[in-house]
Every structure is written in C-alpha cells, then in structure tokens.
C-alpha cells in the first residue's frame, strides 16, 4: 500500500547518500540498507531534512545462514504517513553498530534490549548493559545458535557461572537436579547480584554505603529501591531512586523480573500458535494485541479480513481501549492514595465489558479471538444488544460520573497539575506513544496517522492535551474513552452481516517469505509487531514494539527533581503493564 509514497520520499535519501544507502531488494522486504558507519549521518538527515522525527522501533534479526546480523529501524513522521525503514547489516560474529541514542533518545532501551537478546553492541551508547536478562547471564538468547539451557545446551544452567558447585534445596527436589550447580562457598543469603553493585555505584557518586557523603553540612542522600515488591509499581518493576530528603536526585528503572523471552517463544511457535501468547503481553488489552499481530501477519500473507470481521475487530479494540483507560484512571488514583475507591468504581464498568469479551471469545482476559483474515467466530446472538446498551446508556453515564468526581478535585489537581511535565519535543524524541504522547500536545495517533482496518472510514477526533503533565495524561484518557464511544456508536450502526473469516479456518497458515511491520494504536500506545518469515511454518523473527516498555525511557527524565510521591503518580500516568514491559 505504501510503496509509491515511499519511493517519493526515498529519492532524496538515495540521492543524498549515493554510496551509503541502497534499497533493500530482497523479495518481500522494504526500506533501505545503510552502510554501518554512515548510519548516524543518514539518521540525522532523515530526522532533520525528511521529517522522520519519531523513531518507533529498533530491533535486530539474526540471519544465521547468511552469517550476518541486521538491525532494523522504523522511523515515522509525527505528521503521519508510512514508515522509513532503515537497515544495517553487520557480520554476526562481532556485530557493532553506531548507537542512535544521541539522535533519537527513544533508541536507548531498545538498543539495550538488542544488545541483551541479540548481542549487538552499539558503540557510543551511554549505558549499554543488559535490560531484560540479568547481569551475569551467559549468552544472548535470540541468537539462532543459542541453545536453551534445560533443553538444548550441553552446559546446564548456572554451570558457567559457578563451576564445581553443589546442589541446594529447591532444586534437590526438581527432576533436573544435576543441572543446577553452585560454588562451594555459595549461600543464597550472601549472594549479591552482580548488576546491583554496579547499579548502586552508578546512582550518584556522592553516596557512600556507610552513609554520609563527606560533606559535613549536607544532608544524606539515600538509595532506595521502589520495587520489585512494591504496591504501586504495577507489578514486579523496580525503580532505584536516590533521594535527598523527599526529592528525587536520580532514578533508574530496572526491569526484566517478568521476562519470559516472549520473542524466542514466538520463533518456536507456528504463526497461529503465537496468537494466544500475544494476549499475555499487555494482559489488560488482549484484543488489541491480537489485532496488531494479525495485521502484521496478514500483511505478509497479503490477505484482508471480510467487512464484518473488520467491524468486529474495531469494536473489540475500542472496547479494550475503554477497559484499559478505566483501569488506568482507577489505578492512577490508587497511586495517589485514594484507597481503592475510584479504582473499584472503574473496575465495575470494566467487568461489564469483560462480560462481552467472555461472550464472544470464551475468556474474559486472555481472549485469543483474532485469526489471520478475520476473527475466530461470529458474535453470539444478543451480544450486539448488550454492547449497544453499554455504549449508549451505561458507559457515557459512568464516564461522566468519573469526570464529575475526579476532574475538579482540589487534591487531584494539586497532585497532578505541573507534575512530570514532558514537553512535546521531548515526548517525540523519547518515542513516547499513546496517551502520554498526545497529552504532551502531539496529535499523533496511528489510527489517523497511518490508518489500518476501517479507521479511515470512521469519524472521530484525536484527543490532544497540551501541558504534558500527569493531570493531562489523566484527562486525555477520559477524552479517549469518549472518542471510543463515538467510534463504537458508528460501528454498531454500520456493522454489516456476512462472513467473519477469509477462506477456511486453518491451523497451519502458509506465510510467504518476507518481513512486515504491523502496528496498531493500542490503548497504551503504538504496539508494533515486526515479523520476518522465511516460508517455514514458524516465524524466523518475531519482535514486539511494546509501548509500555518504550514509554519508560523518559521515566528518569520526568522524575528528577520531583518528590517521592510524584514518582508513583508519574508511573501511574504512563500506565505500564509488566507483561508487556518485560515480555
């Protein structure tokens, strides 16, 4: 769909860098292959001259047969339009790529992830260390020659870390007991994770472990862990903060506690088997995740779902958005210390929407409802009436109710207005997505900027707020719920009769070789799936551009100088789900 537009854009880039930039001519591939050393130059040009100011996704692909590793960049214009896809190919033995953090700060976490999982070193990255796996982990699991420890590897887990060790307690009872080995002087209590010492040391040089910072008249700075076991980190997420009194001096997010290497699992599964796994990414919005993955694979397969299925998909996606925003508002208030009252009010409505999900898919949260070229089954009888009642009667009333109770509350205003401000240029640079980006005054919504499904036919506004603080991020969610209701009204009005699946339902889909990047405006932001197929039943590469994960890039920036109480509010306003952050 975007070939022509891309070629008009492409000329300047090719003309400008005749040596360094060549179009990617492999079958089923798009974009440009850029010479490694020219990458920063090309990226700067693309950002400043061509207007690709928003670097959405950075990831790598390990092409083992060709003996090379490819780094793939997807950049967009915030004004809208298709992607600029840049690729850098390096030998897979020692992949070194210049870092783009200086040009696109949003590359920060994503490059760390690529280093962590694929072993691609980004020269010039300010903080290139593991992000999802723990410090001290051996190997890079997404490399194709990586052998999974329990099942494939010769060397069993931990052996490489503690040679000649002894088996201990829990593992004693495990069937694979000989696999775990500790050194003789190892005790669980005495063990300090390697990464932590380095982390603490980096958290402000003035802090000495004994307390005191050498400056007699100054007050102590203390390093405090908020999380992983903390009530308001929304899961096992950890923030290491340096405090001076109540004020944040330094902050570093640490994640990966829920890491299960979703992408590796995805590469082992067949395309369709992967669908239920996407439910587990952002488990609040399973339907939205299904949508993104379906789009990516359908792009590869070159099919489009029938009309009715498109309407059902949009209906589910918008209901998901309502669910997610209700949840987000409720728990933001919880983080502000409102003792669950707003959260429970919001969750009550969420339950009603989950009833709909249960009716159509059989499951309230892990829906697994979408299929390539349609949805799993048609709507059961009566569901449309239930949705109609919700959309026309119940939800608008309840949204107004939340609005009345919360929006003008003096304490909420005092806690939220002017807290965690993110100016629009920073929001774009950090690759923020979804409500967080739009609350900063950037009217960028994938549904409008790069329409998919039937969104180009629907009448709705992109909600924008301009202050970029916690308050605007709260209020924009109310706006978006209202817009979603507007979309749902049109969907309910126009939904046609007909098939819900192109062709016969099949367990094994044939996916031609090539690459595709499918993205949707998930409630938390732009959710992208980068899928590479080599014609086999399972994907060669399956990457998730997780909005929660990338939205955390700006966390440190937003929190510095704020109070402890603000940190939880800011985190709540970003609205993360750890299933998606850690994947």
């Amino acid at each position: 769909m975007s070939e022509q537009e891309q070629s008009t854009v492409a000329e300047p880039l090719e003309v400008h860098f005749p040596q360094a930039v060549t179009p990617d001519e492999r079958k089923g591939y798009q974009g440009y292959v850029v010479a490694t050393e020219a990458l920063p130059e090309v990226a700067t040009y693309a950002r400043d001259e061509l207007g690709y100011d928003y670097l959405s996704s950075v990831t790598g692909v390990d092409y083992l047969p060709e003996g090379k590793t490819e780094v793939v960049y997807h950049a967009y214009r915030t004004a809208g339009g298709p992607a600029l896809v840049l690729k850098v190919q390096v030998p897979r033995e020692d992949p070194v790529v210049p870092s783009l953090v200086g040009i696109y700060p949003s590359a920060d976490f994503q490059e760390r992830e690529a280093w962590d999982l694929l072993g691609i070193r980004f020269s010039g990255h300010p903080n290139l260390k593991r992000i999802l796996m723990w410090e001290g982990f051996h190997g890079h699991p997404l490399r194709k020659d990586y052998q999974e420890v329990y099942f494939e590897a010769e060397n069993k887990p931990f052996k490489n870390r503690w040679p000649e060790g002894k088996v201990y307690r829990v593992e004693e009872k495990a069937p694979l007991k000989k696999n775990v080995q500790y050194p003789p002087d190892f005790t669980a209590e005495g063990w300090v994770p390697e990464g932590d010492a380095a982390l603490y040391a980096g958290m402000g040089q003035v802090v000495a472990a004994e307390g005191g910072n050498g400056r007699a008249l100054n007050t102590d700075q203390i390093v405090v862990n908020l999380g992983p076991q903390h009530p308001s980190t929304h899961g096992v997420f950890r923030l290491v903060v340096t405090l001076e009194g109540e004020t944040i001096v330094d902050l570093e997010p640490v994640m990966g506690y829920l890491h299960r290497n979703h992408e590796k699992i995805g590469e082992r599964n067949t395309f369709l088997m992967n669908m239920p796994y996407t439910d587990r990414l952002d488990y609040i919005c399973a339907m939205g995740n299904n949508f993104g993955y379906s789009l990516a694979v359908e792009k590869l397969m070159g099919i489009t779902p029938p009309e009715r299925a498109e309407y059902i998909r949009v209906m589910m996606a918008e209901l998901t958005r309502i669910v997610n925003h209700l949840w987000a508002i409720g728990f933001l208030l919880n983080d502000l210390g409102a003792y669950f009252t707003p959260a429970l009010y919001a969750i009550e409505e969420r339950e009603l929407v989950l009833d709909v999900f249960e009716a159509v898919s059989g499951s309230r949260m892990m829906c697994n409802y979408f299929r390539f070229g349609g949805v799993a089954r048609d709507l059961p009888e009566g569901v449309l009436d239930v949705v109609r009642e919700l959309v026309h009667e119940r939800l608008p009333r309840k949204v107004d109710e939340l609005d009345t109770y919360l929006t003008h509350n003096e304490i909420i205003r005092a806690r939220c207005v002017g807290v965690g401000v993110l100016p629009p240029e920073d929001a774009i640079a950090y690759g923020m997505a979804g409500p967080v980006l739009r609350a900063s005054g950037v009217p960028y919504d994938v549904r409008r900027a790069d329409p998919y499904s039937i969104y180009d036919r629907l009448d709705f506004d992109v909600a924008v707020r301009y202050n970029g603080d916690v308050y605007d991020r709260y209020i924009i969610r109310l706006d978006e719920i209202r817009q979603s209701l507007r979309i749902l009204e049109q969907v309910l009005r126009d939904i046609p009769e007909g098939e819900v699946q192109t062709g016969k339902p099949q367990y094994q889909v044939r996916v031609p070789a090539g690459e595709a990047y499918g993205r949707v405006e998930n409630p938390k932001g732009e959710l992208g799936f980068y899928v590479v197929s080599n014609g086999k039943p399972n994907p060669w590469r399956y990457h998730v551009r997780a909005p929660s994960f990338i939205n955390l890039t700006a966390m440190g920036e937003m929190c510095k100088g704020q109070k402890v109480a603000d940190v939880v509010a800011i985190l709540g306003s970003i609205d993360i789900v750890l299933g998606e952050v850690d994947r």
Binding site: A188, A209, E210, D220, P228, Q229, E244
Partner: protein, 118 residues
C-alpha cells in the same frame, strides 16, 4: 492537685500493662523461625543498600524549629485564654500586641522562604 493525676497514672500504667500483655501473648503464641532473609529489613524485596538510619534532611529541622517557636508562644496564650473573661480590655490589647509581634516573626520566616519545601 496531685491527686487528680492519680487516675491518669493508673490508666496509663494499665494501658501499658495491657499493651505489654498483648504483645507478650503474641510472643508466646507466635512461631519463631528466624532466617537471615526473613530478618533482613524490607526494601521491596531487594537487599537494602546502606544503613536504614540516616541523618534527617535539614528541612525537617526547620519545621521542628518553627514548632518550638510557636509552641512556646502558645504556652503563654493558654493561661491568658483561661482568664480572659475576668481581665479587662488591657489584657486583650496586650495579647493582640503579643500576637502581632509573633506574626512579624512569622512573616519574616515566610518571606525568608523557611516555609517553602525546597
């Protein structure tokens, strides 16, 4: 009258004894299986870095000092408040002047930024 305080002493002693007894009961009935990990101070599941007892940041001393200032003034106000009815107008004017002096100090502290939390 010192005898007035006797019931208070009795009550407080009793409350303390009760509290002590309850804690003791808990001590007797509860299990005791300490492990090194269990005895670690809680810091969101991480091993704490550095000691848990630190010097207080200087803001808090400022608050404490303001407190002392006001508390002393209030001690003067209390007996005055009790007998205000019996006193003549002069006592009222006197106390207004006193509070005015206090307010001057208060305004000074305000302008100096002592009341700002930064």
């Amino acid at each position: 009258m010192p005898t007035d305080f006797l019931p208070i002493a009795v009550l407080i002693a009793l409350a303390t004894v009760l509290a002590f007894l309850v804690v003791l009961i808990g001590h007797l009935f509860g299990p005791r299986r300490p492990t090194a990990t269990k005895l670690e101070p809680y810091e969101s599941g991480m091993r704490p870095y550095g000691p848990g007892q630190r010097r207080m940041p200087v803001h808090f001393y400022l608050v404490a000092m303001l407190f002392i200032l006001f508390d002393v003034e209030i001690v003067f106000l209390l007996p005055w408040a009790v007998v205000l009815r019996q006193l003549r107008l002069f006592a009222l004017i006197e106390m207004v002047v006193f509070i005015a002096v206090l307010l001057v100090g208060f305004v000074y502290a305000w302008k100096k930024g002592a009341l700002e939390w930064e």
